[in-house]
């Protein structure tokens, strides 16, 4: 849905409601008119997402960076694997705003992954693909390509590179929210999260005894729950998002089997080097089987491949 249309819709909806009320007041108020009015009002309601802007912003901002999973994989000593990623040449397949936004999220995660492993040429390929998609979505002003390209090529300052790319993606999300294009922001984050889950599950296939990976995958139940709330909200007036939500529901069903328990413990704190250091005593436990992992891996692959294909 375009930005212009979103703004028009916000403006038109109250006018339509007011006009309908005027028409209703001017008539005899028969039950047929009343039913018609209620029907029209219901239709208008369905045009808007069923969540408030604040709620949408809150959920969007809560979704963790896909980079966290990639860093964990790298720090576990697992080798770089280019074959898992979405080929940057696939960009020509993405010809709608829906597909561009989803795959921008996917390429964003892939760029983060290549950056963490410092695979410069792959990183530059993803950067070019991102540049093209960002331009098509009119958000290229938020991506500092020259600085990112320079830092990627130099391989010298990984911290600065990650900071600048994360800041740029953060700004894109803010821009989508501020310009009433939160559905694109939702797609961007969904694509990014799904790619991170795909990479993690593919790695888990090769390391089936890694309890750490199993736990990380199981914990994604929490993030998926939030993503589903957003997709459900937009699926009311967007057929493509509705289709995506139906596919994601298969994944949601599998995650329902996973149990996460939490025990609260009081934390203590002290100042170290001008910062408060927290000593945390809360704990959590994830109950997940190898069969759960296999099923989640298969379903994630199906959904992800349908998006990039």
């Amino acid at each position: 849905m375009t930005n212009k249309f979103m703004r028009m819709k916000k403006f038109i909806s109250p006018i339509l409601v007011y006009a309908l009320l005027l028409v209703a007041c001017g008539n005899d108020g028969t039950s047929t008119d009343q039913a018609q009015l209620e029907n029209e009002l219901e239709n208008i309601k369905e045009l808007e997402p069923n969540l408030s802007d604040d709620k949408i912003t809150s959920i969007l901002s809560s979704i963790p960076s896909p980079l966290e999973l990639s860093v964990q994989i790298q720090e576990m000593g697992i080798e770089y694997n280019r074959d898992m990623l979405n080929n940057a040449d696939n960009i020509n397949k993405y010809n709608s705003r829906y597909r561009k936004a989803l795959n921008l999220g996917i390429y964003g995660t892939d760029l983060g992954y290549t950056n963490i492993y410092q695979h410069t040429q792959d990183g530059l390929n993803y950067l070019n693909a991102i540049r093209q998609l960002a331009s098509d979505l009119n958000i290229s002003q938020f991506l500092n390509f020259e600085s990112i390209k320079e830092l990627t090529s130099a391989k010298s300052n990984l911290d600065s590179l990650l900071m600048i790319t994360n800041q740029n993606f953060d700004q894109i999300n803010s821009h989508f929210r501020e310009t009433n294009q939160s559905s694109l922001s939702t797609l961007l984050l969904t694509g990014g999260w799904l790619e991170a889950l795909y990479i993690t599950t593919q790695v888990a296939l090769k390391h089936p005894d890694s309890k750490e990976l199993m736990e990380r995958i199981g914990e994604q139940k929490i993030v998926l729950g939030n993503i589903m709330v957003l997709l459900d909200s937009y699926s009311r007036n967007d057929a493509e998002i509705k289709e995506l939500m139906l596919e994601m529901q298969d994944l949601e069903e599998l995650f329902k089997k996973i149990e996460i328990t939490y025990t609260y413990g009081e934390a203590t704190s002290k100042i170290v080097d001008g910062v408060i250091e927290i000593q945390n005593t809360s704990t959590s436990n994830v109950v997940i089987t190898k069969e759960d992992i296999e099923n989640i891996t298969k379903t994630t692959e199906i959904i992800r491949n349908s998006i990039i294909g």
């Binding site: 953060d170 929490i222 927290i278």
Partner: protein, 147 residues
């Protein structure tokens, strides 16, 4: 002709004064957030920025949430247009139990290092109530606890 020019100058002057007064009152929380990110301690990777504008909150309180992951250590810092004195943020778990705050012995500290021991949705509540700042930003960085 001179009179028209004079009128124009006065008109432009009034516009400029008005514009500067307007911009003076504006909160550039985006800028504050961008400035806050590099102030994370060494070793932390920036992952998220939160813009803070007192006017957009309720009773001087702005709320955000984030999913923290077990095994990672997070640094959450804060910046304010008039400094961080009195600018307080508190982290609560999903059941709204308090797990951390940047206020210690009545003083605000610029950041919290939070080792996450259980993955879940956490709420970060920023309060301007005791602060001269009305505008600010907050950055979240992370690193693995083993690193």
């Amino acid at each position: 002709m001179t009179e028209i020019n004079m009128k124009n100058i006065i008109y432009v002057y009034i516009l400029l004064i008005g514009a500067s007064a307007y911009s003076y009152g504006q909160c550039d929380s985006k800028k504050q957030t961008l400035e806050c990110a590099p102030r994370l301690a060494e070793g932390y990777t920036f992952i998220k920025g939160f813009e803070l504008d007192r006017k957009r909150g309720i009773n001087g309180v702005v709320e955000y949430s984030y999913v923290f992951t077990k095994g990672a250590k997070y640094m959450i810092n804060i910046c304010g247009d008039q400094g961080i004195e009195g600018l307080v943020f508190t982290i609560y778990d999903n059941a709204r139990n308090k797990v951390a705050s940047n206020e210690l012995n009545g003083k605000s500290v610029r950041g919290i290092a939070y080792p996450c021991t259980s993955t879940g949705l956490y709420y970060i509540i920023y309060s301007f109530e005791k602060s001269a700042s009305t505008c600010g930003g907050s950055a979240i960085g992370f690193k693995l606890r083993s690193s």
